[in-house]
Symmetry: C2
Amino acid sequence: MRQIVEERTGSPTRQPSYAEPHHPGLRVATHVTVLHEGDPARRIMEVVEGAVMLTKLLPDGRRQVVELLGPGDVFGLAHDDAYACSAETLTPATIATHERSALERDPVLASRLLRRFEAQLCVMHSHALVLGRMSALERVAFFLLRLMPEGMVGGTLHLSMTRQEIADFLGLTLETVSRAFSELKRRGFVALQRADEVRIQDRGSMRRLAGAL
Amino acid sequence: MRQIVEERTGSPTRQPSYAEPHHPGLRVATHVTVLHEGDPARRIMEVVEGAVMLTKLLPDGRRQVVELLGPGDVFGLAHDDAYACSAETLTPATIATHERSALERDPVLASRLLRRFEAQLCVMHSHALVLGRMSALERVAFFLLRLMPEGMVGGTLHLSMTRQEIADFLGLTLETVSRAFSELKRRGFVALQRADEVRIQDRGSMRRLAGAL
DNA sequence: CGTGACCTTGACGTCGATCAATATTTGTGG
DNA sequence: CCACAAATATTGATCGACGTCAAGGTCACG
């Protein structure tokens, strides 16, 4: 069922979030669809905290997770005044929203969004390389490296995505993703405490598989 | 061999192009690599006229054409102060370049780039759907529709890309692209006067194949 | 007219999709 | 806390779309 941010928050006359000093956003629970592909694009949004995925659908129901967003990332982009993607939370999240017209008025906001768009565009470029040219095993290795920020070596990564969601992100099926996890485990590159708790054991081999990054 | 824009243009002390009123850019011939993945990212660039493709390479030589650019599109994006993609002209082109610092100084420029980044990000989102979830035939249909702007029905489209370049864009091999063209021709959806001259005969069927757009 | 780049087509192999059965985890009510 | 149901994950068997390898064919250019 459709469930949009505005329905989950108190007063509809609430001020735009950027006016608020310390918690400049709406709190949203896990697995909430924040906006829908095709809906009229009124606002532009920013992840303050948590994780959000953007998805697109084909008429026959095939789905692609086109982007994974974390704090600072921007979404709610428009093509012909309609949202180009749906957005769904992967974790509880805080989301800030801005009137599109604020982009003209507020050069500080515009400048932040510009930098962020540049970063996201670069990430999309790498993702095109992943989707267009990498094998299943390489894709999964790349995915895990991207989620495991350089610093946290030895730490355990909690995946807040199901195998199906990972598959839809990597252009695979859930079975293939599962087999790739098993294969990485078999090779000793990663360890899985549970299906959604991953530890990278051999970062070097993973990087070689993923082709740098 | 490496051949960058600055080598092909007269004075190295030339003023930034946005200062020039009417031909605000550098002229570049076909098949010139304007910038190289990994090089220090000094400038940000804009296609004024012509077509440019952005490519990324894997260490073993696999290539992905990550984006096709036309007039107005922006490239030369940086990740860690290095260009994230190589850029090569597909046709003779005019290219404007800006100091990265100009983004701070010039809000008009920043605003234009912001709008353009948004559009390009949307295009990348569709492309992820294409690469992740579409069959070879669907990808080629989608590709042709994107190059044939709604208006020019009945017109003949000149592809300025080889089968290999199209394949690298669509995440296929050149043979598969060639077979897809043949299949579209066999079905009567397109006509090929020459390998690089396409006419779309049945736009409806093409759209159904490509899943809207 | 010959050479090289590009394209087409065919035969065959392979990686990942599909179909299916089982295992594991999560959530719910007694 | 346990029993059961539902969701999610794993693994195996088979199939098919696309990749690979190979042999011409077409076109532009000197």
